[in-house]
Assembly symmetry: C2
Homo-oligomer: 336 residues x 2
Amino acid sequence: MTRTFDIAVIGATGSVGETLVQLLEEREFPVANLHLVASGESAGRSLSYKGKNLRVRDLETFDFASVRLVFFAAGSKVTQKYAAQAAAAGCAVIDLASGLPAAQAPRVIPEVNPAVLASLTAPYLLTSPSAPGIALAAVLAALPEQVRIHRVTVTACLAVSSRGREGVSELARQTAELLNGRALEPQLFDRQMAFNLLAQVEQTDSSGHSALEQQIAGELKELLALPDLQVAVTCIQVPVFFGDSLSVSVQAESAIDLSQVYASLEAAPALELVELDDYPTAVGDAVGQDVVYVGRVRAGLADPAELNLWIASDNVRKGAALNAVQLAELLIKHYL
Amino acid sequence: MTRTFDIAVIGATGSVGETLVQLLEEREFPVANLHLVASGESAGRSLSYKGKNLRVRDLETFDFASVRLVFFAAGSKVTQKYAAQAAAAGCAVIDLASGLPAAQAPRVIPEVNPAVLASLTAPYLLTSPSAPGIALAAVLAALPEQVRIHRVTVTACLAVSSRGREGVSELARQTAELLNGRALEPQLFDRQMAFNLLAQVEQTDSSGHSALEQQIAGELKELLALPDLQVAVTCIQVPVFFGDSLSVSVQAESAIDLSQVYASLEAAPALELVELDDYPTAVGDAVGQDVVYVGRVRAGLADPAELNLWIASDNVRKGAALNAVQLAELLIKHYL
């Protein structure tokens, strides 16, 4: 008989939390009891799971000792406040909000660095990286070994759903306001988001880099086990509801064999390679999919050691909920 | 008494042509007679210039001998078909459509490489570069001399107006269709443009690079007089009506002094530097302006020889019509 596990999803009413619950059902995760948990204001609502309505519990009074595995999908502050409590109660923790230091909860993508788990001990604390970090690492890790990357330059174009449901509703509202000739009233975003690109996502520090840009650079180095990798990241917010798009330029130590690159990307199960007569887009291809799309694969104009790529990925599903569920699958298979 | 010139604008009914005519008026260009010219289907329409309605003439039957200076703003094929005729009639030619080889019509930006004109002889054929090329070169040329650039990686996010009026109306139509739950019918763009990013602009060649990407790389090398510059360009189409945005990463030979960079960008008359507590956007800042906006100026996360920038520029005005008019001003001041 299959072992089953008592599971809690913290932040179950957010868009990532809700997708995570759907994926547990879709992928037939061996759940004994599923506890949906959220902050006070969302507690008491109901969510559907396997045809039943589950009532959302209040995080404040939740007993972590009642579960074996906890997903944290409610923002880094919630992770920081409650993860220690969960771990102390013996729970494995999968944090989707990057609230814990990498040394305490290593970043893992099942198809990139699953071996990291072997070095951990119970109760197992893992970080599911940022959505752009997952998409980027999934593609770069699939490059042939001969491509020795020393620099990655990426412009990550983030969908408004990276800011949760509020981001989605604000883009819709702003767009309708502009099309109907009404005055624009930015709320979540600090200025016009509809029909505009915002050059940064949240605040930057005194050096000009945003927290997410620094996080992505750190994730790449850790996930690819390339501590000396040079990473230049610019994260921008674009008027797209769902799906991140990444424009990537890779510099390698030596000339790249493009046919090898094609063969490796084509063979990678977590990727969908789009050939040169076409290109992938977030909306048309990636959204709703479990794979990361990669296209526009080309060498440099005058540098054979340069490789350029376009990546499209579902930021909520592949970039967050799915990776977390896949981590949980890995944990229960080998470690719990 | 000021000398005046008979001028023709080919492609006067397009968005760039119309802006060009406005700028001739705004900037009090010494026009004797202004001839508005377009292809057969637009001929016969009227456009306003200095309070008068000017009738648009048919390009097919236009006599270039009647003017001294011709702006070509009607696409590269029109330039290729008619520029020789204009030059043979003794006209100076300013091509906004990059229809002529650089050897025949060098690319010039008045604030970047005006000295090129001194090496030319009558009748003077000049190319006004692409909109992203102008924005990028204007910023890079303003960097302090100590910054010796050897590589530029750019993701150019192009507004739909880069595809003319049809691009603008298609984004508006697609957006309304989606917001109203109607079926989407892409026409000019090959797929959904509203709330989506398209990974390439027009077709790519067998190496995967689009014509515009190759053009921008060539423009940069020529404008900055850096023939060995490595340039990685990705041009994408974004759901923005007006204003191009460029995410740029520069690699220099040695560590960059950021305070020098700030001082040089601040001092450049054609630029508007936005400090780190803010950032420029296409819609909120650049559109309608004669300057190129530059912000998010920061070093690399771990590489002091790296410089990252965000550029926003009005693609129709600064990126096309204004540069052409400024070239004409330079020509009549020193050469015609």
